[in-house]
């Protein structure tokens, strides 16, 4: 099994496209880092001892907004105002200035939005790993080895996961190193978590861990879907195209459906974002963390069962 995974790994890293992907990821981080360093970051609150006054002004304006047009605002906007008010009040009470030093961990946190990018590359690899063997014609020589097909497919899937994790590691490590060089390490500020109307403090490091782990879930689900399409339909373009489309549009489509129909909660994309249970509110009433986890497991199993049954039974002709 180990040598099969190593084979797949070698095949990924013998192609220049892989290095382009990693290069793009590093490039974006570097450019963002340069911007942060040399651009004057102008906050919404004065960067001096007056910050408490500034925050109070923000609170007042949000409250005014809520009182004046509270009924007309969509629930989401109302929620976000309430969140801002709660967090600002917490800052004033606990003497936590929003103008803390920008340092390495903050940079990693800002760069964590690139996890989606890593997911995109993971999808590209997942969508190609089986379909390419068909395109190249190498599938024939691959499947006449004394190894059963399930093992070959499993080794490919594990390789996809390893590749995804490696990308995340590269992103984390590079933004960390670059952050240290550009901004240094200061006393890290706590991350303020807003949950069920209460503000809690969380260490920045724990928050980053949360972000990386929870975002990986969405990446893994989409990559698994791309992998399934790749092995079931032998088409890398279909696998990659459809998965990327759903990655960007799936969430919004689900939200649109959720406005009218309750069954939207069974959609994969209503459940991939587990942040909704950590902060903010679930997409639909009646959804819980357990419900989402069960849904994710069910989808995962369906994808894998389809991929493995079709791949095992397929006649390799033409």
């Amino acid at each position: 099994m180990f040598s099969l995974i190593r084979n797949e790994w070698v095949k990924i890293f013998k192609r220049s496209g892989t290095y382009v992907m990693i290069g793009i990821l590093l490039f974006i981080v570097a450019v963002a880092g340069a911007f942060m360093k040399y651009q004057d970051v102008q906050g919404t609150v004065p960067a001096n001892d007056q910050w408490q006054k500034g925050l109070q002004m923000e609170i007042d304006s949000y409250q005014k907004e809520l009182e004046n047009s509270g009924e007309m605002l969509p629930q989401e906007v109302k929620d976000s105002y309430e969140k801002m008010i709660a967090i600002n009040e917490y800052r004033i009470e606990n003497n936590l200035s929003p103008n803390g030093d920008y340092e390495a961990l903050s940079f990693i946190s800002d760069m964590s939005s690139l996890i989606d990018f890593a997911g995109l590359f993971m999808i590209i690899i997942a969508g190609g790993i089986v379909a390419n063997e068909f395109n190249w014609g190498t599938i024939k020589l691959l499947l006449i080895r004394p190894i059963n097909r399930s093992k070959i497919l499993l080794s490919k899937y594990i390789t996809v996961l390893l590749f995804g994790f490696s990308l995340l590691f590269v992103l984390f490590a590079f933004s960390g190193i670059l952050g240290l060089i550009l901004f240094g390490l200061a006393d890290s500020e706590p991350y303020l978590l807003y949950q069920d109307g209460v503000v809690k403090e969380q260490s920045m490091f724990l928050h980053l861990l949360n972000v990386y782990v929870l975002s990986s879930i969405q990446n893994i689900m989409l990559a698994t879907m791309a992998f399934m399409i790749s092995s079931a339909f032998r088409s890398s373009s279909l696998a990659i195209g459809l998965s990327i489309f759903l990655m960007f549009a799936g969430g919004q489509m689900t939200q649109l459906i959720a406005l009218k129909y309750d069954w939207a909660k069974y959609s994969l994309f209503a459940n991939t974002d587990l942040f909704q249970y950590l902060e903010g509110t679930p997409m639909l009433p009646g959804m819980t963390l357990t419900f989402s986890i069960i849904m994710l497991v069910v989808y995962f199993l369906i994808f894998q069962i389809i991929a493995f049954t079709i791949f095992k039974k397929r006649d390799i002709a033409g």
Binding site: R6, L141, I144
Partner: protein, 306 residues
């Protein structure tokens, strides 16, 4: 001799169409078995079933008594194959390709890889990327790929497709050598008759998914009598001499050529007789029936029967 590959009543049905119809044959140790048939007869389908790339609807295929259906891993570990073109990972070097396949079988050392590379004569270019290889070199790399694990059965689907005469000859020499020296059972498919004649010991002819006949390539013509073609200047007078010496002869005359069937010893007697009669002889040639003649004979017979 031991039967290494056994095809037992194999049938393949795709979308209600019977592609292969209860095919049965055996291939022995050290034998080169040719699988011959027109395009679309089912050669490649059969070969793909032997190596487990496509499923079998009915019947079974056994390699060293292991079924490819129920005991795939055991059966296939004795098989080396090229199915159609030997497609390789073009972005890797020949050596990396071989290493990739070597890791999928047990106990193949780096020395063994280099030894195989040497055998197919690719030592100079083995570290170059496959995309720079010519078709002949890719074919050689394909051969190396199936010899890595010292298989008992070698399966080559259209191995000479697209090769130049030198390349064809090379493949042929390799195949004969592997069967003779290493005792491999070799299955070769082709639609090129002359090719098969030079390479194979036995040939199975397949048409429309059915096995029509299996023949030995170097079959002795029965009774020691052979066919001869003789060019002379006066065929009718020459025939008189033939009638005198070999009675009941069904000789034929075509232009200035006599076609007759005779024992080897009769020929010098005929020549003396003709010389005595003042007949000039230009050419005497022994003709053997080519595989092509037999192939066409068999396939047309089949058509007439329908």
């Amino acid at each position: 001799m031991k039967a290494v590959v056994k095809i037992e009543n194999v049938t393949k049905v795709i979308k209600k169409r019977t592609i292969i119809d209860s095919l049965s044959f055996e291939v022995m140790e050290g034998e080169v078995f040719g699988f011959l048939g027109p395009n679309g007869a089912g050669k490649t389908t059969t070969i793909r079933m032997i190596v487990g790339l496509i499923g079998i609807s009915e019947g079974d295929i056994k390699i060293l008594d292991n079924s490819v259906q129920t005991n795939f891993e055991k059966a296939i570990q004795h098989v080396g194959a090229i199915v159609e073109n030997p497609e390789m990972y073009k972005f890797m070097s020949g050596y990396q390709n071989l290493l990739h396949y070597a890791k999928m079988s047990e106990g193949i050392t780096k020395e063994k890889i280099m030894e195989t590379v040497e055998f197919v004569g690719l030592t100079d270019r083995i570290h170059d990327k496959v995309k720079t290889y010519s078709l002949g070199m890719r074919q050689r790399l394909g051969l190396a790929q199936c010899l890595l694990h010292d298989p008992k059965v070698l399966i080559l689907d259209e191995p000479t497709n697209g090769l130049d005469p030198a390349g064809i000859r090379e493949i042929r020499d390799h195949v004969r050598k592997l069967a003779r020296e290493r005792g491999m059972a070799v299955i070769v498919s082709s639609h090129l008759l002359s090719e098969m004649e030079m390479m194979c010991d036995r040939v199975g002819i397949i048409q429309k998914g059915k096995l029509i006949t299996i023949q030995s390539v170097h079959e002795q013509v029965e009774g020691g009598a052979k066919e001869y073609e003789i060019d002379v200047d006066h065929p009718t007078e020459a025939m008189l001499a033939v009638d005198r010496l070999i009675p009941n002869q069904q000789a034929e005359v075509k232009g200035n050529t006599l076609m007759l069937r005779a024992q080897k010893e009769d020929i010098p007697l005929l020549v003396k007789e003709w010389v005595h009669d003042g007949i000039n002889i230009y050419r005497i040639q022994e003709t053997t029936k080519t595989l092509e003649d037999r192939f066409l004979e068999v396939t047309t017979l089949q058509k007439e029967a329908e």
